[in-house]
């Protein structure tokens, strides 16, 4: 078993992909062709990390897609960082429908990832974070990202 597991569900022209693991130079996306489908839903919450070699393979894989609609769900921070930094990581047809934003409380040492959903916590032009995010003990948490950098992709 490789470092990345890809679960595929094809339903007519629709393809559901669930990725779990690490995306690096060992990944072989050729076994999971994206051609021949019109809609693709990518579920990425299980992606732990991605390195520069993995980015190269990812961009080639995404470039092979002919899908008219490419929806990205539950993007973790490593994916959002690459969307913001690497031009072409998110294809032009791709749209992020939800992504995680890390929060933390330095005093309590608590951490939490909050899912931001399209239409609720963000739109095509702005981000509307929850007014307060609290940990299990009720401690107020602050966002663990540099907002101007992390939400950059929304305003692209």
């Amino acid at each position: 078993m490789g470092k990345l597991e890809i679960k595929t569900e094809k339903n007519g022209d629709k393809l559901n992909l669930t990725l779990v693991g690490t995306i690096d130079e060992d990944i072989d996306f050729n076994q999971h062709s994206l051609s021949g489908v019109k809609e693709i839903d990518l579920h990425l919450s299980g992606v732990k990390s991605i390195n520069s070699c993995g980015i190269r393979e990812w961009i080639k894989w995404m470039g092979g897609s002919s899908a008219e609609v490419l929806r990205w769900h539950d993007c973790p921070k490593p994916i959002v960082d690459q969307i913001n930094m690497v031009d072409g990581f998110l294809p032009s047809t791709g749209k992020v429908l939800s992504f995680f934003v890390p929060y933390y409380n330095d005093d309590a040492g608590s951490e939490k990832s909050v899912l931001f959903r399209y239409g609720t916590e963000f739109t095509d032009s702005e981000v509307k974070p929850p007014e307060t995010v609290k940990d299990e003990d009720g401690n107020e948490m602050e966002m663990d990202v540099i907002e101007s950098k992390y939400f950059k992709f929304i305003k692209k």
Binding site: E25, N51, S52, C53, I55, R56, I59, N84, M85, V86, D87, G88, F89, Y104, D144, V145, I146, E147, S148, K149, K152
Partner: protein
Amino acid sequence: MNRRGLSLRYKILFLLTAIPAVALAAYLVLAMRVFESDKIAYVFDATSNMSGTLASQIKTQLNSVLIGAKPLFQDYLSNTNEQGRRSFSARGEELFQEDSQIDAIVVYRRESNGEIQTRAALEKTPGLYLEALGSSQATLAQEINEAIRSGRSIRSLGKDDRVLITERVGSDSRMAIFAIITRLSETAEMFRTSISQRLYLIDQTGTVIFAPREFQDANLKVAVPLSFLKDPSKKFVQGAETITDDKGEVLLASYSKVGFGDLVVVSTVAREKALSAVGILLRKSLIFFVILLCSVVIVSLLASGRLTNALSSLFVATKKVSEGDFNVHVDVKSQDEVGALADNFNLMAAEVSRLLDQTAEKARMESELQTAKTVQETLFPESHSHLGGLEISGFYEPASECGGDWWHYCQVGDQTFLWIGDATGHGAPAALITSAAKSASAIIENMQVGPAAALALLNKSICAVSKGRLMMTFFIASFDQKTKVLTYANASHEAPFLMKPSAGPLKKKSLLPLNEVGGPRLGQDRETVYEEAKVQLEPGDMVFFYTDGIPDIRSPENEEWGERQFVKAMIEAHQDFPTAESSVARFVETFQAFRQGSQLVDDVTFFVVKNQDSEAGS
């Protein structure tokens, strides 16, 4: 060969011979004991049979003499002569002459005064009786008294095969004592000439009647001290015992009562002679064992030779290995454990040889990498500089000998160019790309183009070199010394952070990422056109350029430093907007404290520039 102690071959030889030798010796001792016991039992059985048979024969012979004498007894007792005294009749004399067994017969009577008187005598030859008695006449009275007491006595006359039988007939006033001289020639010869064993005919006091010719004693008691001779009261019919004679010789003796008077036949065999067969068997067995041991030694020598030859080959081979010669091959044909050992040794030697070659090759490659590292270090600028109104200070540490990160600065006219890039992966391949980037930059910086055009040209260069297999993220900025405007273009690189003292105390939210523009990585698409963005720098403004290896720094416990700690360290290092050199030193100190010498996961590169206008203005 440098061996210690006894050779393995001789140890094996010793084992293979010692074990059968000890086993054979033990068997021999045991077998000899059993055989000896059995032989002694056999000899006792044979001599007992012999003495018993001989006793029966003598008894028969003597009884035959008495049967022949009885008509003479009756004749004497029933006949009276002219004087009115008992005497042999003419008929009696005639019977005597006809009897071939009796040489003489003399009649004695004990008178009332106890005196022994001769009453009658018949002799085949006149004077024969007295001649036969010879010196025994002195003990004749004892014989007669013994016959009166026990009814019968018999003794040898010493000279030849004649014996004197004294027989009491009747009792009280009618009692007569008949002394008969008869010959037991065959019997006497048998006792005298026995070969395998010595035969004695004795009475119960040990007095010898017949004995082997060489035996000269009159009594057997001293020469052969049999138990019944020591204890006359002992009752026995037949017996056997082991005794030592007067010469110290051990004898196997058996004896049987004759049943005529108190005669006893004694048979003795020297134990040594009786067991001579044991000695022969022992000698033959020893010869056989010696032959067997010699065979074992020869077979052992051959077998141990095969084994030790193989081991010697292995020994020589291991010695060569210990001297550093791994090109050895042990040729052992055997299919046993030694053969398997030799095969494994050959495999091991081959593997060690291969590993040595591999190690040498690795050393060569490491040497080349070290050279590459030295060459690559020349690609980097001085870590601290003041250039075109900027103070520049940087840090670079590759994750391995060669890194895929590169940073650079240069001045072209009024423009100070700042370059930072990160090749795909790290190590030698990435280092080669950075080398290409450096070469290209040396040309580009003289072309007096802006950051976007510089990125585009650099992209073409990387595309040509890597052919899509390797890519680089890159960020180029140019600082105009006159206008204090920082123009930048980005090829998917980490956006540098601008920190402005005018924004108040430095916080996370006041970090300004220079991410207004971005484009594909270098090497991805040859025709990429990059955009530029501008930002006005104020006096004291600082910009932190970095690669993505910084958040990946790990502690000895493999804990990731992470973006939060990275940002926190960056804010702390720039909190009071110190010199670029100080901020770099602070930042390095922080992450090195976390890292504690752990191996880097990715190359770490960063540099800080500070607009020195504040100092200049002040």
